[in-house]
């Protein structure tokens, strides 16, 4: 498997995925919880540019002691890529679809070295 230069480490933010093209394949790369993660920028649903959508936290529900919903809230410990075409959501940490963990984004192994980021492709 060849190692290809993706971009400089300083190009990668923890707020917005950077889209890099390597051998005709678009890869979304972002710094998440101190680690760089990279996914193919194609949604397994209908092929949307999944890494280019909003980055949003999981929505959760808080209950009272009788299991009555008190309110909804954002759980910022679990951030998602949201595909801008249809709203399918994927955990940034693992690439799993929120609705079905069997469905995943295509992930690339990333190496950070000498202030550059490389991807195995």
């Amino acid at each position: 498997m060849a190692e290809k230069l993706l971009c400089a480490s300083s190009d990668i933010s923890d707020t917005t995925a950077r889209i890099c093209e390597v051998e005709g394949v678009e890869i979304g790369v972002i710094r998440h919880k101190g680690t760089i993660v990279a996914y193919r920028n194609v949604c397994p649903h209908q092929g949307g540019p999944v890494c280019e959508g909003l980055k949003m936290p999981r929505v959760c529900v808080e209950f009272d002691e009788q299991r009555r919903p008190l309110r909804q809230n954002f759980d910022t410990a679990e951030m998602h890529f949201v595909c801008p075409w249809h709203g399918w959501e994927f955990k940034i940490e693992t690439g799993e679809a929120v609705g079905d963990s069997k469905i995943r984004l295509s992930r690339y192994k990333v190496v950070e070295r000498d202030e550059n980021v490389y991807v195995e492709i």
Partner: protein, 412 residues
């Protein structure tokens, strides 16, 4: 009182997904699909797509006969849809997650042609769609307006605007124009006024109606459509206030059920009251309810009909036999973990001749042509028929291929 800390805005105007929005860029992966699958080799027609007509409301109102209603729509503070088009509660854009809703207003287009033509051509060219049947968006709920005279006035103004400003200008865009079914005598006039206009390929009944489709007052509408050889589309819509849907508390619930339920109601009345026997030449297309409802309804109606034929004396065959002769748009095609069910569905509805591809673009649950092209149990001919050939026959279209496909063909 404890206040919840302010949440960050996860879809602000400055988000890269929204600012500098461009349809071609958003759909670049769709264009790649079109090229990878060689859509250049065949004709694709999308039978259900949309624009946001309220963005052109000041233009549309210039075509309105009633000056008082025109003033209502144009008066300061009311430009938009106030008073003229019912507004639906519901987060179509999933609170900003589907970025084209927020981004659309920011998209830059040239002065000419009309903005809606440019935006429509952009998504068509990205997806590989050659011709599209264009429908309004907020006006899908116009039939629920409490004032039938407003429905009629809006419908006539919209139809005139659509014909003159859009259909006359672009031969790749056609439409089944709005039919105000709640005012049958006006619907008849609408057929007379628009049936021969360029780009008009049929007429459209939208959403929930004030009277059932088999009501006697509608018979002249159907006879007139039959005379003109014009198909009738039933475009589903949800109506949260409908008593059967009012208990549903989430948008996903009312959307998932409401669109199918709308056409289930109309279809049940249509078939069991013998409309296909009374108007055998009138072709109907059932739009935007997905596909799963059709086998469900076929089985339910056939099962009861065989026990209660006396309840439906106009029928000469089973309900499913009539339904199998009708036409269906494909979106939103149910594709999650259901290949076997989908194959059965396709067989039950004679999909190879009766199913017509639709995108519903730019709405949130849109389908690309690959939702049909990538179905493993379909042969190449069936795929091409569903994607375009069946629409060409139903609408008697003279196919117009997109420029990029013609150029790609030349380039070999």
């Amino acid at each position: 009182m404890t206040l919840t800390p302010n949440s960050p805005n996860y879809s602000s105007d400055t988000d890269p997904a929204i600012k500098e929005f461009n349809t071609t860029k958003l759909l670049k992966n769709a264009r790649k699909q079109a090229e990878d699958r060689n859509y250049k080799d065949f004709f694709i027609c999308d039978v259900d797509s949309h624009h946001y007509e309220t963005e052109a409301l000041p233009e549309i109102l210039q075509y309105m006969d009633d000056p008082v209603l025109r003033h209502l729509g144009m008066s300061a503070g009311n430009v938009g849809r106030a008073g003229l088009i019912p507004q639906a509660i519901g987060s179509q854009d999933m609170a900003g997650r589907v970025t084209r809703y927020a981004g659309r207003n920011k998209e830059v287009v040239p002065e000419k042609p009309h903005r809606d033509i440019t935006l429509t051509r952009r998504w068509m060219d990205a997806m590989g769609v050659d011709m599209a049947c264009l429908f309004p968006t907020p006006m899908l709920l116009l039939a629920t307006h409490p004032q039938p005279e407003v429905e009629v006035a809006m419908a006539r103004a919209y139809n005139r605007w659509l014909c003159e400003r859009i259909l006359e200008e672009d031969k790749r865009i056609v439409s089944m124009v709005y039919l105000p079914m709640n005012e049958p005598h006006e619907a008849e006039k609408m057929i007379d006024e628009f049936a021969e206009r360029k780009g008009v390929v049929g007429f459209l009944s939208t959403g929930y109606l004030k009277r059932p489709v088999h009501d006697n007052v509608n018979m002249r509408i159907y006879a007139k459509l039959e005379e003109h050889g014009m198909p009738l589309g039933f475009h589903a819509a949800y109506h949260w206030a409908d008593s059967s849907l009012a208990q549903l508390n989430k948008f996903i619930s009312v959307h998932a059920l409401g669109f199918s339920f709308c056409n289930i109601i109309h279809m049940t009345n249509w078939v069991l009251n013998g409309m296909p026997e009374r108007f055998p030449k009138l072709k109907t297309m059932w739009i935007e309810s997905g596909l799963a409802w059709i086998p469900f309804l076929m089985q339910r109606l056939d099962n009861e009909y065989m026990m209660r034929t006396s309840d439906a004396p106009l029928l000469k065959k089973k309900p499913s036999d009539y339904m199998r002769e009708m036409f269906y748009s494909s979106q939103p095609i149910e594709l999650v973990d259901n290949k076997e069910a989908l194959e059965v569905t396709f067989k039950m509805i004679n999909a190879e001749s009766q199913l017509l591809y639709s995108s519903d673009y730019p709405h949130w649950d849109m389908d690309l042509p690959s939702t049909i092209y990538d179905i493993p149990f379909l042969g190449e001919k069936a795929k091409r028929d569903i994607l375009g050939g069946n629409a060409q026959k139903l609408f008697n279209l003279d196919p117009v291929m997109s420029d990029w496909k013609l150029e790609a063909r030349k380039a070999g």
